[in-house]
Symmetry: C2
Subunit: 272 residues, 2 copies
């Protein structure tokens, strides 16, 4: 059982709510932080949204998401870089200190090529991010997303890429959903922490059986992930930031979001 | 382009066919080997099936599948071991020199416990297998199956477990579907080959997007896996066995199986 000082929720978790309604409800229920998805900023001024979040007593933890750098098409890669530069400007206006990167992959080329283009894209964006005071977090994605969402699929790969890029504002977002299965994950979390590169920690659970590749994440405690084991590992590795609840779930999105928020808070207290 | 000397097909690939019909059609089309799934042996004498396969000019490559060792329940583990001993007897009667192991996992316990129970189960079965002249191949399964199908999810884990078990009749089945995303896979294939532990090589393709966790495998060339890259790696590592086509596909199972077999052969010639 624990208090809510480190509880952050991603806007996508309560997707049926606008960012304004989410902020109001999160604040009222004692949630401490919010990670804003870019779709939640559509037709809004990020600076205004950022002020309203802080006025409600919440902290802006990060902006989700940048990335999707690779493509066999050089023009598409250039457009992806432009979009990441826009995201950096949005993060700065919002007051988000971090952008989470879903790095991307193009199934039309070898994964090694996608990985090289990811490193290239991050390097090309990192200067603007530094000037804006924004960090970039590589989020290793579960290997079931290696075809089209991310060619970075393990903590080891994320650490290797950070070593290669070697910039203090480029680190890793650790999400239990993506790495729980990996026998090397705990060791690589320690490696990541030793390099002071754990920039974020995301939680949810793996439903058994999982019925959809993307939209069937479970509430903490409903699945088979030992979340405290990973929370302990990131904290042992020096991480002191938020525990961010990021759940994509057609099931939960179809339910009453206020009751769902109560369930999230209860699950957080019991299973994180 | 290549001949069919090393083409083996799993009975499950053409699941609508009985093993008798599969043997007849595979042989007529020049397929060289067959891997028999245990469900195809239901209500049949394995020795008789084995003879009919050899009489048709096909080689029995392996029996699929043993494994599923872990459980939080000790009685269930004992039953699983019994079932594996039965599978060994079936393989011996069939004349299959190899059993492929889908090792299992119990989401109700830590993966480390499941892994320990897998090693324990294999060790307990290996003596009977040796006496029967049957090898056992650990098949690392894609991490999306870590919840309930296998706690061994990378070539590295499979190699580590073989090191731990350290018996000459326990090795690895390399399946491109499970390992294609892994940046360590090629190095671990070399490690596996150096230990003379590559016992099987399975091919199919990863559909983009994949629509089902289990039953949406693609025909070689339809997806994003560079199959020749992996075939080259196992052959460089000393493997001289069959290339086994193992496809679970509700789509292909719903089509005419004779036409499908022609497509498999064409895809094998062009993309393996």
């Amino acid at each position: 059982m624990q208090d809510l000082d480190k509880l952050c929720i991603h806007t996508v978790t309560t997707k049926p709510w606008s960012v304004e309604i989410a902020v109001e409800n999160y604040a009222r229920c004692g949630v401490s932080g919010i990670t804003v998805w870019r779709d939640a900023l559509a037709n809004r001024d990020p600076a205004t949204v950022g002020r309203s979040i802080r006025d409600a007593g919440l902290q802006v933890v990060s902006l989700c998401r940048g990335g999707f750098f690779p493509s066999v098409d050089a023009n598409a890669r250039a457009r992806a870089l432009e979009d990441n530069l826009c995201a950096i400007d949005e993060a700065a206006a919002l007051g988000a200190p971090l952008i989470v990167l879903v790095c991307g992959a193009d199934p039309g080329q070898p994964l090694a090529d996608s990985r090289a283009q990811i490193a290239e894209g991050i390097l090309a964006a990192a200067g603007r991010a530094r000037e804006a005071g924004v960090k970039l977090a590589i989020e290793p994605l579960h290997p079931m997303y290696a075809d089209a969402k991310s060619a970075v699929n393990t903590m080891q790969s994320a650490n290797d890429m950070c070593d290669q890029i070697d910039l203090p504002n480029v680190g890793v977002a650790v999400d239990v959903y993506h790495i729980w299965w990996d026998p090397n994950a705990i060791g690589e979390i320690a490696r990541c922490g030793a390099a002071e590169r754990i920039f974020a920690f995301h939680v949810c659970d793996w439903r058994v059986p999982t019925r959809d590749f993307l939209l069937d994440r479970a509430l903490m405690g409903e699945g088979c992930i030992d979340i405290p084991h990973f929370r302990n590992a990131v904290e042992q590795a020096g991480f002191t930031g938020f525990n961010e609840v990021e759940i994509f779930s057609t099931h939960y999105w179809s339910t009453d979001q206020s009751s769902y928020l109560q369930k999230i808070i209860q699950a957080y207290k019991e299973h994180v």
